[in-house]
Structure formats: C-alpha cells, structure tokens
Amino acid sequence: MLYEVLMIGVMVGAIYTLITIGYSMVYGVLKLMNFAHGDVYIFGTLMTYTLLAKNQWHPALAILLAAVAGGLLAALVEIVAYRRLRAAQHRMISMITALGAAYVIQNLSELRWGNQVLPFPSLFPSKQLMVMGHAVSLTHLVTLVIAVGVIAVFNIFLKRHKMGKAILCVSEDISTSSLMGIPINRTMSTVYFLGGVLGVIGGVLYSSSYGAVSLGMGFRGTVIAFTAAVIGGIGSLGGAMIGGMILGISENIISVYVSSTFRDPITFLILIAILLIKPTGIMGKVEQGKV
C-alpha cells in the first residue's frame, strides 16, 4: 500500500514540478508572481481534451499543439500585460495586470468549455505491471517517465543552450545581461513560452492520470506552483523539483493515511514550517542587496 502511495506521490510530484518550473522561472527573471500561469495551463489542457475527445487526434499531436498554444498564450500575456510595465515604479501595477490577464483567459476558457468537470481520456492503456514484486499501473509509470524526461530535457536546455544560459543570467542581473547584448524582451517571452509549454504538458499528464479536467483546476494549479516554488526556493529549477516532489508525495500520504479533507491544510503547514526554518526555501539563495 505504502509503495503504491509513494509511487503515485512521485508521479504527482513530477507533474507538479512541470507546472511549477514555469511559474518559478518567471519569478526568477521578472521577480513577479505570474497569476495567469494556472489559467494558461488549464487552457492548454482543455484544448487537448477537445482535440482528443471530440476530434480524435493522435495524443502526441494533440499535446504538442496544445502545449505550443499554451506557450504562445503565455508569451502573449508577457507582451500585453508585463512588457510595457517592467519599468513601472510599483510592482503592484504589473501584479494587477497579471491578475486581469488571468481573469480574461479564465473567462474565455469558461465560455468555450464551461466550468463543469469533463471526462479526460486516458492516454495510456490501463495495465498493471509487476515491478520488483509490486503491482504498478502502466499509466503511472509512463506518466512519471514522460514528466521526468521533459524536466531532464529542459535542464539540459538551461545548462547547454545559449538561450538557456542567457535565461539564468537574466534572472541574476537584467541590466548586466543587456550589456552583454542579451535581448531582454525576447528572453522574457521565451521564459513565458517555455513555462506555458511545460505547464500544459504537466496539466495534460495530471488530467489523464486522474481522468478529469475542469476549469477550477487552473486556480489550484497556480496555488500549487506558488507553494512548491516557495518551498523549494523560488526562481531555481532544483527548487521547483524539490518543492514539487514534497507536495506530490505529502499530498498523497495525507490523503490516504489521514484524510483528503486535511490535504491542503497540512500542505500549507509544511510550507509554513519550511519557511520558518529557511525563509528563502530549501534551495533558495539570499538575494544580494544592490546599491
């Protein structure tokens, strides 16, 4: 029993990591909460639902298209709601436009898909495998492998690709980065785009393993991304992974052994406990004050 709970916990943790990366990276480069993050990923997930359930697309093609659409929508949010306000005196201003963008996307999604719970088709055959003497659902295993694979590819992109390295530099120091000739606007849109793509992939994996999708899951996605990012240390990829895993595993343990009613309260208790011990999150670095 515990084995299965842990297995599902790790899978959910990997999915949460995917959803958290985009949110955390945006905070890294812009030092801003991306309120629209959850609404973008649920838009992409709902779009995948339509392509799969109504139009009978091939899953890979449907996910690819929806992920790119989600990425472009996220980049659009950056261009419309943030770019012109980056120099604004108060961060509150762009927080408000972000909230506005979140509501616009949410309401447009509601017009198209409504707010009821829709049955999400399963992407993988429901088979049980025997792994080291334990029954493991194929769906869970494949979902985990895909999620970890996407995270690994993204990690390689950040470490090896010129744009990935530039993203890390921009998140450290915007003006010095622009002195290097790094195009700041394009970097910001790229971060939003990638965050949207990863978020949609995470959303689709989540919905397919639970067999359901609904508009309301968007807001919960934002909350999860926020919590996981803060627990792990906001702005860092390692932090997103640790935060996502802690949330995924603890949620499942609490739901099974305590009660699902206490899932969210206990999750937030964990958040508070970690912040009391390490206010910057587990992997968080202290921001050095600059004159």
Binding site: K162, D173, S175, S177, S178, M180, I182, P183, I184
Partner: protein, 242 residues
C-alpha cells in the same frame, strides 16, 4: 569615434547629467574623473543605453545611437564593463565569457577568444569551471574586463575598475588597461583613483555635479593646481605650499 553632445539624463525627474559633451577618438585612452555622485556612472550608463537620454546625442562611428537599446549598442561595438564588476555569480567563469560574446555568430572565433583571455588572465584559466561568485574581487574584475572584450568591441567603457582592490591589484589592472590600449582598443575609463588614471590616460575630463568642469591632456591636469587641490590633496605637493 565616440561623440557625446549636450547629453542630459537622469533617474525619473532627477537630472544627473547637465549638458555633458565629451569625445573619444579612435585608439584613444580617455579618463573621466570626479568625486562620488558627480554623475560618472550615469554618463556611462547613458552611453551604453541602460539609461535613456532626455536630450542631447550620442554618436558612435557617425551613427546616432542615442535611442538604441542596450543590446544594440553592444552590437555597434561599445562594451560597458559595469561598476562593481557584476559578474554572473551563479554561472561559471566560462559561461560568463560566453555571454560576453552573446551576439557573435562565429563559434570558432568565440572559442579562440575564450582561450586567448584565459591565457591572458591565467588565474581565470585555472578557475574556468568555477562559479564566478567564488572568485576574489580582483579575479572578478579581470573576468568582467575579459567578458567585456568577448564582444570584440571598438570602444571599451570601464567603470571604476580599481574600486575596492588592493594596491598591487590596482597596478595590475592599470597595466592591463594600458596593454589593451596598445592593442588598439579605444577606452573610456572612469576612475576615482585620479592619480593612477591620469598617469595611464592621454586625455581626461573632470566632472562635477553632472557637468564637465575641466578637460585637457592628462599630464597637464596632473600638474595643475585645481586637480592637486581637489583630488590629490595639497600634502602631495609640499613645494607649492612653501
């Protein structure tokens, strides 16, 4: 090469630069001197596009670059090594150098240049895989200069490269600046270390409260009364007191 005319700039409503005009010729090594708060850093930031000018022009190689964004100014051939070094502390020495060449497409050339600067600054060669944040102040300054050179600039803007360094390191940095100048790069050097700066440069401007108060040949300024009194202290010249 660089021609700044009647430049006005500042932060929000606060004007820091009041009608600044300076020039750097091809192959010249020029200093801008002045006390803290004179506006020297603001001047460099306006030239490199980090701050938008509210009036006046910056011309470089006969092109008006006043309204260019910072990343386009690097492309035009001006490289700004910022005050306080500002290396990317969480990236390796190697990545810092690569980022300096962000706009360059010639991969082989970039690789060659990285090797060239790692050889020119052996301590960076030894530590190329280390995070830049783990380097000492002097090493970070060398990295910042090497990173600034990676874009193959025609003009290098150096903002107080000797700040916070031990005296023997200051001499080391000044030697590097002279060496780069000998290689043909034009340099605009901002310094608080007036004596050292006047010794290595050919011409100098003296800034006060956002205006150019004096300019002339560095050797002449070094001898002059005003500089002696304001920046070098009278003690250094007991003859004049007598």
């Amino acid at each position: 090469m660089l021609k700044v005319e009647s430049l006005v700039a500042g932060y929000g409503n606060i004007k820091v630069l009041h009608q600044i005009s300076i020039e750097v010729g091809k192959g010249e090594l020029v200093a801008v001197l002045g006390a803290n708060g004179a506006g020297k850093t603001t001047l460099l930031k306006t030239i490199s596009g980090l701050i938008k000018a509210s009036a006046g022009t910056v011309r470089f190689d006969n092109a008006d670059i006043t309204r260019y964004p910072a990343e386009k100014i690097v492309g035009a051939g001006i490289s700004h090594v910022p005050e306080g070094r500002n290396v990317f502390a969480r990236s390796t020495v190697l990545v810092n150098l690569e980022m300096g060449a962000f706009l360059r497409q010639d991969k082989a050339g970039v690789k060659n240049d990285i090797e060239k600067y790692l050889a020119m600054f052996p301590i960076l060669g030894e530590r190329h895989a280390q995070l830049a944040g783990t380097l000492s102040g002097g090493e970070q300054q060398m990295l910042a200069i090497a990173r600034g050179l990676m874009s193959r600039p025609k003009l290098l803007l150096l903002d107080e490269p000797s700040m916070g360094l031990a005296p023997f390191l200051v001499n080391e940095i000044m030697k590097i600046i002279k060496e780069l100048h000998r290689e043909g790069i034009s340099i605009l050097l901002i310094e608080q270390n007036v004596h050292k700066a006047l010794k290595v440069t050919q011409r100098a401007y003296v800034m006060e409260l956002g205006q150019i108060r004096r300019h002339g040949k560095s050797m002449e300024l070094l001898e002059s009364d005003v500089i002696q009194k304001s920046y070098l202290g009278e003690k250094q010249n007991p003859k004049r007191r007598a």
